[in-house]
């Protein structure tokens, strides 16, 4: 009901006027700008935690160097390795893990090969290759590991648009592997290689935009009961 002077006096009518479309045209929300500023805010929020992580990592690396022979390289499991492409016939040990990622050369596979054992090197390396149409296995990207200790190893960048964006293996009882980028968590596909007591993992192609070409990435490993495992 309206008042005698033409004034809105009724609450329901006020609600009706509030619901009316405004007589102005709004510009479209700048989605890219929103997400860019949001990511910056997330990074700023994480700064204290990141600083603490750096301190811990630096301490861990320094400690590891003290325990090694002089001149031996430090181990960092969070840096992504860029393997040199090659193409040869593979000599897998243990099972060949199919990633269910298929391209014209066949299914992308991951497996292990023996490497010359050293005092501070793993006796095997992780290899990415293809299972070809005739059942053969090719080796294309090989990544050795400087240690055989529990934790992440051979974290390697795939070839964007060709195979998987990121892969590696975890030495220990991991059943779930995640990467965290811009505050978002990405889960890897995993398969246990029991013969070596390791878990091979790889991120599917749909994560290439985020993980492809990345130089370092925070990784987490979890046991079957959800406990966080050492990196």
């Amino acid at each position: 009901m309206r008042g005698g002077a033409g004034v809105v006096t009724d609450l329901e009518e006020l609600r009706g006027v509030l619901a009316e479309r405004p007589a102005v045209e709004f510009t479209t929300v700048d989605l890219a700008g929103v997400m860019r500023r949001g990511r910056r805010r997330r990074r700023l929020r994480r700064l204290p935690a990141a600083a603490a992580t750096v301190v811990v990592l630096v301490g861990a690396v320094a400690g590891a160097q003290l325990l090694r022979t002089p001149g031996s390289p430090a181990v960092t499991t969070l840096a992504v390795t860029a393997a040199q492409p090659e193409r040869r016939t593979a000599a897998p040990i243990g099972e060949v893990v199919g990633t269910k990622t298929v391209d014209p050369e066949g299914e992308v596979v991951l497996f292990f090969e023996h490497t010359p054992a050293g005092p501070d090197a793993s006796p095997y390396q992780l290899v990415l290759g293809h299972r070809t149409g005739d059942g053969g296995i090719t080796a294309e990207l090989a990544t050795g590991s400087r240690a055989n200790s529990p934790g992440f190893h051979a974290l390697t960048a795939g070839r964007p648009g060709q195979d998987v964006p990121l892969y590696g293996y975890y030495s220990g009882p991991a059943t779930r592997i995640t990467a965290q980028v811009d505050g978002l968590m990405y889960s890897a596909d995993t398969q246990r290689v029991g013969a070596l007591a390791v878990t091979v993992f790889w991120f599917p192609r749909r994560d290439t935009t985020v993980l492809g070409g990345i130089a370092t990435v925070p990784m987490n490993a979890y046991s079957a009961v959800g406990d966080s495992l050492p990196k």
Binding site: D10, P22, G33, G38
Partner: protein, 169 residues
């Protein structure tokens, strides 16, 4: 685009018209409304991994309302008054003044909090308890502020209960 980002983009497409509408009611200024919605969405995106499985729309609405109130708390922007206008803002139908123009003039004398409570209560249709929770004020504050705001607008506070029967009280 990552899954979370795709979901957020879809969320923005779905909610931005209504958020812009609410921001315009809260500010009375188109450009300010656009800036405030942009800010609310940035904060929503910042917390997206945490809130995406909860109620992101409620989160964005809450951020928007509180952001507008916080901005208006700055002294140079404060336009609040406790006084009820001597004369109600008249709605000039004969001159063809649009409802929106009347509404903007009626909302203008309200403080930021009064305006926010009117918008949350009568535009978003939240309960008084929900308004209190979103603005982190007491239920009594919501009730008294709502009454004062409606009085300033010369709108009777008695609500009609017409939902089912279509009858007005």
């Amino acid at each position: 685009m990552a899954r979370g980002d795709s979901e957020f983009a879809e969320f923005v497409r779905a909610v931005s018209p209504r958020l812009l509408h609410a921001a315009y009611l809260l500010t009375g200024d188109r450009h300010q409304a656009e800036d405030d919605v942009q800010t609310a969405l940035v904060r929503t995106y910042t917390s997206w991994p945490r809130i995406r499985r909860q109620d992101p729309f409620a989160y964005a609405r809450k951020v928007l309302a509180n952001h507008v109130i916080d901005r208006w708390r700055r002294p140079y922007r404060e336009q609040a008054t406790e006084d009820v206008p001597e004369r109600a803002v008249e709605r000039d139908f004969t001159a063809g003044v649009a409802d929106q123009e009347w509404l903007m003039r009626a909302l203008a004398p309200l403080s930021a909090r009064e305006r926010a409570i009117v918008v949350l209560r009568h535009f978003w249709d939240l309960s008084e308890a929900d308004v209190a929770a979103e603005l982190k004020v007491s239920l009594g504050t919501v009730k008294s502020t709502n009454s004062r705001a409606l009085a300033k607008m010369r709108v009777t506070a008695a609500e009609r209960h017409s939902c089912a029967a279509g009858q007005a009280s």
